[in-house]
């Protein structure tokens, strides 16, 4: 309980900063659009062929934009050595981790929901009835991605080549989660019955759980050494 209170305090701080400057989300959103732009320029999106890859495209955009948000997450704490003050404060590392992860998830979900309509228009994905299913997919997929990204954001914060290092470490580990999300999203976009894919939803949930626990246990070591 106490842990969650502290985590929430930290998350609220990040959210408040972001609500004020809107810097990161704006930049990330524009970046997502740019990526969409690049995609559409490099291969013309027409016909069913695109519908089959729509899920993949969407999550590609999310991943590339997302990892940039994650890089910032701990990097910004180093600006005035704020990280020292955080670690010196009587909150466990796990609280810092959870708070940051929460804030990042909110940012990414924002980003994703903002990108979604643009995407569907760009690639004229027909809007099915069971799109409601998309929400749990987004949430679970994003949380898995963010949890790992947040841990590694802390891991690489004082490392050379941070901006190169993070995607390098994050993506291979998140591959299963991404694949599952892609699978589910594509099913939804192509309008096939979701029933057969529910196993992926469970898989995602399990994935998230495992890495959340790992993060909670290990982040203290990362921060204090």
């Amino acid at each position: 309980m106490e842990l969650l209170r502290q985590a929430w305090a930290i998350a609220r701080k990040d959210l408040r900063i972001e609500r004020r400057s809107k810097e990161v989300v704006n930049a990330a959103f524009s970046f997502a659009l740019v990526v969409l732009l690049l995609f559409s320029f490099t291969f013309d999106p027409t016909g069913d062929q695109v519908r089959e890859m729509s899920g993949g495209l969407l999550w590609l955009v999310y991943s590339f934009a997302g990892v940039l948000v994650l890089t910032r997450s701990f990097a910004q704490e180093t600006q005035n050595d704020c990280l020292d003050a955080l670690v010196a404060a009587p909150v466990p590392g796990s609280a810092i981790f959870l708070g940051k992860a929460l804030a990042n998830t909110v940012f990414l979900l924002f980003l994703e929901l903002a990108t979604l309509p643009v995407f569907t228009i760009f690639y004229n994905v027909r809007w099915e009835a069971k799109m409601a299913w998309l929400l749990p997919v987004l949430v679970l997929g994003t949380w898995g991605f963010t949890v790992i990204g947040t841990v590694f954001s802390a891991l690489t914060v004082s490392v050379r080549l941070r901006e190169l290092m993070l995607p390098l470490l994050v993506f291979p580990i998140t591959v299963p989660a991404l694949m599952a999300s892609v699978q589910l999203t594509t099913t939804l976009f192509t309008g096939e019955p979701i029933a057969g894919d529910l196993v992926w939803l469970q898989f995602l949930a399990g994935f998230d759980l495992i890495f959340t626990l790992l993060g909670v246990t290990l982040v203290e070591t990362i921060l204090v050494g």
């Binding site: 390098l168 291979p172 990362i222």
Partner: protein
């Protein structure tokens, strides 16, 4: 600083590798459908198993380091990871040469192949991270934590294979159908795996030593410079 045991290890390894070559290319019967290319099999799967073991070793060593803060474990972890990369590369490299004649393509993004590639990327990421951290203690701690995540990630990726349909043959070990290997093939396969395992252990001794020297030099230099 070659000790006698080094020579013994080197000898044993050499003998086993040569025997492995003999078994693979002379002794073992030809596979009916695939023909000679199938013999790649004996140098294709075993390296993967060794790589898998290398991860486990890195993982255990990494955890031991976090607990004891004894750099010997860090050395073991790196050494094992470096070798893991080498062996996984072997598995990755031999695969396409098999795929080309059998499937007609070098590569397909089937789950099993992908997982192999992901594993390879994890090794690479681990080693690149290490090179990006200057301060040895921090380097050791961070890379140890990373190993834990990657090891878990690797297991998940590997299990995820089972969920996907794959063009790639099912596991012979612990794999349900398709495990119908001729006993001689089995023997060769098992022996090759053992040979690669010994090779791994032999090289491990040296890479560890190398790593220790590296760290000692680093430390001496800093101490001298701080005078």
């Amino acid at each position: 600083m070659k000790s006698q045991s080094d020579w013994i290890w080197a000898g044993v390894t050499a003998v086993m590798m040569v025997t492995a070559l003999y078994l693979t290319f002379v002794w073992v019967p030809m596979e009916r459908t695939m023909g000679v290319v199938q013999r790649i099999f004996y140098f294709h799967a075993p390296p993967f198993f060794v790589a898998a073991i290398a991860i486990v070793v890195s993982l255990v060593a990494g955890i031991r380091f976090l607990v004891t803060r004894d750099f010997r474990f860090d050395e073991l972890a790196v050494a094992s990871a470096e070798l893991g990369l080498v062996f996984e590369s072997m598995n990755l490299a031999t695969g396409p040469f098999w795929a080309r004649p059998v499937w007609g393509i070098w590569w397909t993004w089937d789950a099993r192949l992908t997982s192999a590639f992901v594993l390879w990327l994890m090794f690479v990421g681990y080693l690149i991270l290490r090179r990006a951290v200057d301060e040895p203690t921090q380097r050791a701690v961070l890379s140890a934590v990373l190993t834990v995540f990657q090891a878990v990630g690797a297991v998940i990726v590997y299990l995820a294979n089972r969920l996907w349909r794959t063009q790639h043959p099912q596991p012979v070990i612990a794999g349900g159908q398709g495990s119908g290997l001729h006993p001689d093939m089995w023997l060769t396969f098992v022996f090759c795996t053992a040979a690669f395992m010994v090779l791994y252990l032999c090289l491990l001794r040296h890479t560890r030593r190398l790593e220790r020297m590296r760290r000692e030099i680093e430390g001496l230099r800093r101490t001298v410079h701080s005078l």
